[in-house]
């Protein structure tokens, strides 16, 4: 459906109103009007003409040239000139602190007016821009729907794609459909993206000096699977800019199925949990499989190693079990924690003894440099071990749990977990609390009820 002449005129007007050039022109015009209005009286001619005046009634014009000039000036203007002149004289004679205050006041008033105008211009611009965007978006939604249900794809024409702004909205709409459609319709959308050479727009974004534009380019190219862009995107996986780095990493996961996590090999920046969640989400959403995560489990970047161990559990890579088991002895408490959780997911009976051993190794090692919240991490690890053992408990474990309850463990929840598991296997066993949190343990013993404790 072609837009009418009126619609085009409105669209064009909105486009002009939205443009930054228009906004700048308005601001410049405003400044010019403002400053000319203020500074005109301060011009040399005016100052010279009225230099002897003290008040409007004392106006005396000395020569005919000045008389002519004065006649050209209205009474209102004279009033302004005289007051301005008086003010200027007072300003020159004023003390420094007064001068400073006057300058500050002047700057504040100008700034305030500029802010007022800018807020309104910005609001007008935004309203016009949104209105135009909505109309254009609706137009393209209709056209794309017609395209999807049309049989004559090669003859289909879309409105206004010669303009970059229209194309940007068109690409947005196209990619939105690409995300939300499946099967043949999705392929049609992808073909359209290629046939209209829209990938050139997306690729051009990679050359932008603005990182947000570059990142948008990564997203678009990754979504429509423009594989030849991967070489250009890859270098950004080590960018100093965090968002650019994440977007590039996510794009690489999609564009390089043969080695989606290759960028991890020499990643020196910490891979935050947020990044890890996003990578996992992208891999799951696009069914991207990795044969093994083991190569990154010994990475010098600890966050990458943790990620590899977590992913091993998330993708149930049981073939990596021996490697994960080895990591129970790792010096880093965080790596041990993720290894414990991954083993818990595997839930092999063979895990039991190594986990029990690992429990007793959760003590502060003077050799370990990183002490950040180490005691909390060690307690967290102990809880994770007990959680991992919860599905593997059997009668022969009673001595382990009794030992835990008698040991100088200082955390209530570790004791609680151990006590619950002990009661599962030896409900009749009585425990004499001897450790520092014995009051709580006594309370636990007194209130023991399977339903209560399970919570």
């Amino acid at each position: 459906m072609q837009p009418s002449l009126f619609q085009r005129a409105v669209g064009r007007t909105m486009h002009i109103l939205c443009s930054k050039h228009f906004q700048k022109s308005i601001l410049v015009a405003f400044f010019l009007i403002f400053f000319v209005g203020i500074l005109k009286p301060a011009s040399a001619e005016a100052i010279g003409t009225f230099s002897s005046m003290q008040s409007p009634t004392q106006v005396s014009i000395s020569n005919s040239q000045n008389q002519v000039a004065a006649e050209r000036v209205s009474f209102g203007d004279r009033l302004i000139f005289v007051h301005l002149n008086t003010l200027l004289e007072q300003f020159v004679e004023a003390k420094h602190r007064v001068k400073i205050l006057i300058v500050i006041l002047f700057v504040l008033i100008i700034g305030l007016i500029v802010l007022f105008v800018y807020i309104f211009l910005n609001r007008t611009q935004k309203t016009a821009k949104w209105s135009w965007e909505e109309k254009t978006r609706n137009l393209y939604q209709t056209e794309l729907t017609n395209f999807l249900y049309s049989d004559e794809h090669q003859f289909f024409e879309f409105t206004g794609l010669d303009k970059a702004a229209n194309r940007a909205i068109f690409i947005d709409e196209l990619l939105w459909l690409h995300r939300n459609l499946l099967g043949e319709s999705r392929i049609k959308i992808q073909d359209l993206y290629y046939n209209l050479h829209l990938y050139k727009d997306s690729k051009n974004k990679l050359n932008s000096p603005i990182w947000s534009v570059q990142a948008k380019g990564f997203r678009e190219l990754a979504q429509v699977n423009v594989k030849d862009a991967s070489n250009r995107i890859e270098k950004f996986t080590h960018s100093k800019n965090k968002i650019l780095r994440i977007e590039a990493q996510l794009a690489m996961v999609k564009l390089k199925p043969e080695n989606p996590l290759g960028f991890l090999n020499d990643l020196s920046y910490p891979l935050t949990e947020w990044e890890q969640i996003n990578i996992l989400n992208t891999m799951e959403a696009h069914n991207i499989a990795i044969n093994s995560f083991e190569e990154w489990m010994d990475h010098t970047n600890e966050t990458v190693a943790c990620f590899a161990i977590k992913m091993c559990g998330a993708f149930n890579h049981i073939q990596s079990w021996p490697k994960v088991l080895e990591l129970l002895d790792h010096e880093s408490a965080d790596i041990r924690f993720h290894a414990i959780n991954t083993l818990a997911k595997f839930n092999f009976p063979e895990n039991k003894e190594p986990l029990k051993l690992c429990f007793w190794k959760q003590v502060e090692d003077p050799q370990v440099k990183s002490k950040t919240f180490l005691s909390q991490k060690l307690i967290r690890n102990k809880l994770a071990i007990l959680e991992a053992l919860s599905n593997l408990v059997s009668a022969e474990d009673a001595s382990f749990y009794t030992e835990v309850l008698k040991s100088p463990v200082e955390d209530f929840y570790v004791l609680k977990r151990a006590y619950v598991q002990l009661m599962q296997i030896e409900p009749a066993m009585s425990i004499e609390p001897t450790n520092p949190v014995s009051t709580q343990l006594q309370k636990l013993i007194d209130h023991y009820h399977p339903k209560t404790i399970a919570s």
Binding site: R97, R219, K310, Q376, I453
Partner: protein, 485 residues
């Protein structure tokens, strides 16, 4: 004698000017910092898909703790609203702090609660717990209700923290309305911490819900308040949250996370002692103490701040309530500053000691007192006939225009970022209100501050009654849709 008077006059007048310049300078610097931070945040945020957390097995667990005292009017709707927050791994702990109305009966009935026996670690001392409730209905399985003896907000929060066993705790005022994605957005800074720099808390912006439309405990339409005082507070909140706190977050010097909405690392919160029950400004004091705890252990840490409008709450529309609230706030500030006076220009505490604490000391606590003394001084000078009227008016004009400029900056930030008031008329009204604020609203705040100071030094510790209209008005006629008056 006259010479001595002249010297004194010179010192006082120039002292006032120097102090004013420092205040102007610091506000201007904060405005620049917050502008930089907010621009970065908005740009980055356009690439964030918070929904990835909804399905992720790596998402951290969160306890939402909401203390309630005599909130029977709205409590059921508000709990429903909290339970419907978009997050996968969370529980809601409502703490009924000895309400004398029918709050507890209403909750038990609405959510089909039964008594629940649980043994947990009471690391923080609280008033006795009467009972803990959990729902028989599986749909409300993430809801826990603690019924306890009245002990104040801090005590109720501590009871909730004791019961919580999740990674992070979110503190919410039960009468506030959270947007659906609030937890997803607040959790993100914790997931972005890099090795060696722990995120101990995240604060959120509090927006004003007066006159907004609330349906089923959810905000559906944002409107500028109709009444004068809430309208003025919109300007004040915008300035404080979008300019002040954003900049302090950039400088890692944030000393306050509003008690109405904040997320904390549970471990650090408990280790630093939880909320103190003997204070009126427990929210600020907690952050100062948590930061101090980290600094004293030489741990690198960060207090994050999210500028998105995630939490909407009702503000006082009555003068007397507003004065009581502000008087309590200033007492809270003073408690935190004086209890932790050791931080004052103490390089050991880095930005907290060298920047945050002194700033609050001089510009948040001392400024209203100096302003008042300035007024008294001017009155004396005027009576004695020594006043320099042109200079007085000039200084007054500078201060007035600076205050308005700051408010306009804040409105501009709002316009460029979240743009919640989408009618042009509303923006115009905000700008007009900004012109009136220094004349009408500021004297009220100044008076409240002085009253708070007086009460603090005379040892009064009352909280003051905070009357709320409640979101659900005319419940029988309009059970689903309501407006806050």
């Amino acid at each position: 004698m006259i010479e001595l008077f002249e010297v004194l006059k010179y010192i006082i007048e120039n002292g006032i000017i120097v102090f004013t310049i420092f205040i102007f300078g610091s506000y201007s610097i904060l405005a620049v910092f917050s502008a930089l931070e907010i621009i970065q945040y908005i740009r980055k945020n356009s690439f964030i898909d918070y929904d990835v957390l909804l399905t992720s097995p790596f998402a951290p667990s969160i306890s939402v703790i909401a203390p309630a005292f005599n909130e029977g009017k709205t409590i059921v709707d508000n709990i429903r609203s909290m339970l419907s927050l978009h997050y996968n791994n969370f529980e809601v702990i409502v703490v009924n702090d000895g309400s004398t109305d029918d709050s507890m009966e209403k909750i038990i009935k609405a959510f089909d609660l039964e008594k629940y026996s649980v043994v947990y670690d009471e690391k923080l001392q609280t008033k006795p717990i009467k009972a803990i409730y959990h729902s028989r209905n599986h749909a409300f399985s993430s809801l826990f209700v603690i019924d306890k003896e009245n002990g104040g907000k801090a005590d109720a929060l501590n009871a909730g923290i004791n019961l919580s066993a999740k990674d992070y705790v979110t503190i919410v005022d039960v009468d506030s309305v959270l947007v659906d994605k609030a937890l997803l957005i607040m959790a993100k800074p914790f997931l972005e911490e890099t090795s060696g720099k722990k995120v101990i808390a995240t604060g959120g912006v509090i927006r004003i819900a007066n006159s907004c439309t609330i349906e089923d405990g959810r905000l559906t339409q944002v409107k500028l308040p109709r009444k004068l005082l809430p309208k003025m507070q919109v300007i004040e909140y915008t300035r404080a949250f979008l300019m002040g706190r954003m900049a302090w977050s950039k400088l890692n010097g944030l000393l306050l996370i509003s008690g109405a909405f904040g997320m904390f690392d549970r471990d650090v919160l408990i280790k630093s002692g939880g909320y103190r029950n003997d204070l009126v400004g427990e929210d600020m004091e907690l952050i100062v103490r948590m930061r101090r705890y980290m600094a004293e252990r030489k741990e690198r840490y960060k207090v994050s701040y999210i500028p998105d409008p995630l939490c909407w709450t009702e503000v006082p529309a009555k003068l007397s309530v507003l004065v009581r609230q502000r008087d309590r706030w200033i007492r809270g500030t003073m408690e935190s500053l004086f209890k932790h006076f050791r931080l004052f220009f103490n390089p050991k505490y880095k930005s907290l000691g060298m920047l945050g604490h002194p700033y609050w000391f001089f510009f948040e606590w001392l400024a209203p007192i100096l302003e008042f003394l300035g007024i008294i001084y001017f009155i004396i000078i005027a009576i004695l006939g020594f006043s320099n009227w042109p200079f007085f008016f000039l200084l007054l004009a500078v201060v007035y225009f600076f205050a308005i400029t700051l408010s306009y900056w804040a409105i501009l930030f709002e316009e460029l970022t979240f743009h919640r008031y989408n009618k042009r008329r509303e923006v115009l009204r905000m700008m007009l209100n900004a012109l009136l604020e220094p004349i009408i609203y500021h004297p009220i705040v100044l008076f409240s501050s002085l009253r708070g100071n007086f009460k603090f030094f005379t040892g009064e510790k009352s909280w003051g009654k905070m009357e709320r209209q409640g979101f659900t008005v005319d419940e029988e006629k309009k059970p689903k849709k309501s407006k806050v008056k």
